[in-house]
Amino acid sequence: MAAPLAPQPPDPQFVLRGTQSAVNAVHFFGGTQAQGCPLLFSGSQSGLVHIWSLQTRRTVATLDGHGGQSVNWLQTLPQGPQLLSQGRDLQLCLWDLAEGRNTIMDSVHLESVGFCRSSILAEGQLHWMLAVPGKDSDEVQILEMPSKTSVCTLKPEADAKPGMPMCLRLWQANPGPRPLLLVGYEDGSVALWDISERKVCSRIACHGEPVMGFDFDSQKTRGISGSAGKALAVWSLDGQQALQVCHTHELTNPGIADVMIRPDRKILATAGWDHRIRIFHWRTMKPLAVLAFHSASVHCVAFAADGLLAAGSKDQRISIWSLYQRT
């Protein structure tokens, strides 16, 4: 009965065009006073990383460091304007962007050619931890950075056969010193690894299809994952570090490429293979909006610190949305 009263979904605030190939990764940077004008990084199928100014809505610079191979993960480090980009040329590059530079400071050679995105855990200013897909197809490798020393390799038990890791997330419980790693696997399960003990704390089967993306709310210790299948799964972590599925949410069309919870943990966005971005209320999982703007699969979504939403799609466009913003 409320249906006729529901407002029409909004249009994007603006659209960034010009990557000339499918957009595989987007990442916001800055927006606070200290870091200068807000930027958006986008990684494309053609191996380029575009840096967009959100003020002028133009590219500021283009980084070409992956030899034409697709860039599928972008992440900035907390200690200043440094960007990590992961490409399918088996390189993970660390870019120095301070003071207008754009040079590769360092690079890590990867041993997996899959689509798995890496993850970092920045403990302090100097040392940080990097999780990357490992040499064997089901391995995850943990590196100490910037020394690039291998801490350990997390290999599931022989009889588990979870398939390839599809997405990674390093995190640390607030009172606990031990870093933890969440891995979404090819068989649709999500596992929690204790890195120091190198064992699986808990593993649950969330989906029937490979997990394509998840996000984890470390405060509520709840996470949400999307898969190639038709459902979103919300799972939580209890005090004994055991994962359990809270509930699943059925979608109209199958295939979720990426899931992201907004930093204020109010809403979350999913990137759908059905060309649509879906917005949900994070606490209740109530569907809030279905944004049908793109004309091809949406590959990635990202939220800025101020709540702005960016979505990159196979149709070579990046759409920027402002939804449910606190005014």
Partner: protein, 835 residues
């Protein structure tokens, strides 16, 4: 005693003499006063013995004499209205029965409107309003010894009951409101309650009384059809008074028992209607059905099997009454068995009206609700057998309403008789009737009034709601507990998500042939393409008539055999519309194919009925005038484009580009000055009936083979549903062929068809036949009907008259009457034609 009596007699004779002859006011007054002493309740009464003698022997004489003297002049004999008062008092205070009889007699004996008549009518009105009727009836309730008493009582009875008729007849326009039946009978009801009260009182006092006169009055009133008025007053009073009093209950039972057999049915029907529920009925009737054969017959057979006019509450009262006492329960079980037998008889299904079938079904359900497990177990086999027979013949019926009744009743019976077995479930749409019937079937504890039952059925709902709301409110509370934030973000209003549809990856085919290919594919991966093809087909066919014509028969065959392979929404409709489009595009070829397939082997009934539906719809579309709304314009541009492949282009072009004619006309209109404007006159679109040329292809192949049974298909046997559909289709085709040359031949063939099937047992078939007759009468020109088909018309007419009078189905009777009216009109038109 003897001399005293004679003394009374003498004085009275003297007084009467004075009254009859004297014109002197004083003497008349004194004579009247002397007579008044003999009435009860006067200042200086006479001896009781003398009073009795006066009442028994002389009162009527005195009254007659008084009536005889009545005139304005006589009343003026003495000054003041003393004389009139005295005159009145004799009627109002003397023995009520005699006063009443004399009054009635006098009123009947007085002709025409006159002072006397009006005076007496007013007196009678006073008589009624002062409760003298109650006194009259009370008198009759006392034990009587007098000779000739039954005769007197009989007279009184008829006068009391027929008072409104007599008064109405005599007073005509001057009738008083008190004598109207709607006022009189309620009054009589009140008076009866008074009488019963005094009977109860005297029984308490140890006196013997009989209520038979009241029973007879009640019976007679009910026979006259005034049960609503009298019982409307009587029943509430009795309900209240029998509440706590055994004596009242006994009086009440006696009252109903004493009703003559002749009137028993009327009284019982009235009582069942007037009582609010089975408890009250049980209180008022007691075990009447055990004591009185007639009552038993009425209650257990007549009201259930021979009539169907009781409303549902009445049925509930009736059957609830039977269920309320252990001695009466055998009747209920017997009634259920017989009801189910009736319900299960195939002849009853065919030959009784729907309303009665519904009535019997409801009665069955109510019986079931009242009967307990053990009682049902004893006669389980019998009940089951009747039910199975009933379900079978009901599900065979071609009327949806009958089928549904069968489903509902069968579900309920099976759950009651076989509570342990798997429940029987049918698919039927939930509507008011089904809900009502299912509600009837829910058993309620015996001795529960409907009101109590309602409140108790409400109770669990009331109890559930708080629990539910609490459950509903718990999860958010828990979430809030774990979530330190306030839920201030609950004001996120969702956007409209109606556009969130499933994404279709494959493109719809662009050509008719592609569609056909996609539809005939059997690979599962192409299901999306199959769906898209099905959805696109109708549009493609309509846009590309030429391409369709090349493959029309093939396409129709594909569509006819198409099975629902995925859960496409509206599959049946899509398929039907595509088939209709193909048929309309190439009527002759496709109709020939479809009609030949109708009688072919190896089709399901569903497919055969689809064929009929498609033929009807296609014929309807073809015959619609102005179907090709643009065709006149195009023909003026150039007839050659009409049939060329460019037709589609020009048609689609005309949609987008405004037609040049319109543009020119607009321009002319804007440049032209009109001195006066007539009403805009629109010429109705005219065009040839396209159905005319192909009507034969649709019609004759269908009608020719109906009587040749195949192995898989026997129209005249089991497949009467299809036959019914066929008759309707033929009727529709006939109707659509109006104004065509082939209509006469079609009409002849159709009338023969109707004649062959006119006594078909299935209602649906008969309805089809009747509507077919109507369409013949509408479509075939009147002259041709009379010239070519006079014998058929006469035969049909007599058949129609028969149906209109005797058919069990209301719809059939109505259709027959319509057809007869059409015949009448035909005849009138022919008669009015100048010869």
């Amino acid at each position: 005693m003897e001399p005293a009596r004679s003394a009374v007699g003498l004085s009275i004779r003297e007084a009467v003499h004075v009254l009859q002859s004297s014109e002197d006011g004083g003497r008349v007054l004194s004579a009247l006063e002397s007579l008044q002493r003999y009435l009860r309740g006067t200042a200086e009464p006479a001896l009781p013995g003398e009073q009795e003698e006066f009442a028994a022997k002389h009162f009527a004489v005195v009254l007659r004499c008084l009536v005889g003297r009545l005139s304005p002049r006589w009343l003026q004999l003495s000054p003041g209205d003393r004389l009139e008062q005295l005159w009145d008092s004799f009627f109002l205070e003397g023995p009520a029965d005699q006063a009443f009889l004399v009054l009635m007699e006098a009123i009947e004996g007085t002709a025409g409107p006159s002072f006397r008549l009006m005076k007496m009518a007013q007196l009678l009105a006073r008589f009624l309003s002062e409760g003298r009727v109650a006194a009259l009836m009370e008198e009759q309730c006392r034990p009587q010894m007098k000779p000739g008493f039954p005769l007197l009582q009989e007279t009184l009875l008829s006068k009391v009951v027929s008072l409104p008729d007599h008064l109405g007849n005599h007073l005509q326009q001057d009738n008083l409101a008190q004598f109207f039946p709607q006022n009189y009978f309620p009054l009589l009801g009140e008076e009866a309650v008074q009488v019963l009260q005094s009977v109860v009182d005297s029984l308490r006092g140890g006196l013997h009384c009989s209520v038979s006169f009241v029973s007879r009055v009640l019976g007679k009133v009910c026979i006259q059809g005034r049960h609503k008025e009298i019982l409307g007053r009587l029943v509430p009073q009795l309900t209240a008074r029998t509440q706590g009093s055994c004596l009242w209950q006994r009086v009440c039972w006696r009252l109903v028992e004493q009703v003559p057999d002749r009137a028993m049915e009327a009284v019982l029907t009235g009582l069942v209607e007037a009582t609010p529920g089975p408890e009250v009925l049980s209180r008022l009737l007691g075990n009447l059905v055990l004591k009185n054969k007639k009552a038993q017959f009425v209650m257990t057979r007549k009201l259930l099997f021979m009539q169907y006019r009781c409303t549902t509450p009445m049925l509930q009262s009736l059957l609830g009454y039977l269920a309320m006492d252990s001695q009466r329960r055998p009747f209920l079980i017997q009634a259920l068995k017989e009801l189910l037998e009736t319900w299960g008889s195939s002849s009853a299904v065919r030959h009784t009206p729907l309303a009665q079938q519904r009535y019997v079904s409801m009665a069955v359900l109510i019986c079931l609700a009242h009967l307990g497990e053990p009682e049902l177990r004893d006669s389980r086999e019998e009940l089951l057998a009747s039910m199975m027979a009933g379900v079978k013949c009901r599900l065979d019926s071609s009327l949806p309403a009958v089928r549904r009744l069968g489903m509902i009743v069968a579900e309920v019976i099976s759950t009651r008789i076989h509570p342990e077995g798997p429940p029987l479930r049918f698919q039927y749409e939930d509507d008011e009737l089904s809900r009502e019937m299912l509600a009837l079937a829910t058993p309620r504890p015996v001795g529960d009034s409907p009101l109590e039952a309602r409140s108790s059925s409400l109770d669990p709902v009331v109890a559930e709601t708080p629990a539910e709301t609490m459950e509903g409110s718990v999860p958010p509370a828990q979430l809030q507990g774990s979530d330190s934030e306030l839920d201030s973000d609950d004001d996120f209003i969702p956007y409209d998500m109606s556009g969130d549809k499933e994404l279709k990856s494959s493109k719809a085919p662009q050509y008719v042939r592609d569609c056909m290919e996609a539809l005939t594919t059997f690979e599962d991966k192409d299901m999306e393409r199959w769906e898209a093809a099905l959805k696109a087909l109708e549009g493609l066919v309509r846009r590309n008539p030429e391409a369709t014509r090349e493959v029309s028969v093939e396409l129709a065959r594909v569509l006819l055999h198409l099975e629902e392979r995925t859960c496409v929404a509206g599959f049946e409709e899509l398929r039907q519309r595509a088939l209709v489009a193909v048929t309309v595009t190439d009527p002759a070829q496709v109709a020939e194919h479809l009609t030949s397939q109708f009688y072919a082997l190896n089709y399901s009934l569903r497919q055969r009925m689809d064929i009929l539906d498609v033929l009807t719809l296609a014929a309807q579309e073809l015959s619609r005038p102005g179907r090709l709304g643009r065709s006149p314009q195009h023909s003026s541009v150039g007839p050659s484009t009409q049939c060329s492949p460019t037709l589609t282009a020009s048609q689609s072009g005309s949609v987008m580009v405004p037609d040049w004619r319109v543009v020119v006309e607009n321009r002319i209109r804007s440049k032209t000055r009109h001195f006066s404007k007539g009403s805009p006159w629109q010429e109705p679109a005219g065009g040839p009936n396209e159905f005319a040329s192909v009507a034969g292809c649709f019609f004759f192949p269908l009608i020719h083979h109906f009587d040749r049974p195949l192995v898989t298909f026997d129209l005249l046997g089991d497949d009467q549903l299809v036959l019914g559909r066929l008759t309707h289709t033929l009727g529709a085709l006939m109707y659509l062929a109006v104004n065509t040359t082939v209509a006469v031949r079609m009409g002849k063939a159709l009338l023969e068809f109707v004649w062959a099937l006119r006594f078909h047992v299935d209602t649906y078939v008969r309805r089809g036949l009747l509507s077919a007759v109507s369409s013949v009468l509408l479509s075939v020109p009147a002259e041709r009907l009379l010239e070519d088909l006079p014998d058929e018309l006469l035969e049909t007419r007599s058949w129609l008259a028969d149906v209109a009078e005797k058919d069990v189905d209301e719809n059939c009777r109505e259709l027959a009457v319509r057809a007869l009216l059409l015949l009448e009109r035909l005849r009138d038109r022919l008669l009015s034609l100048p010869s």
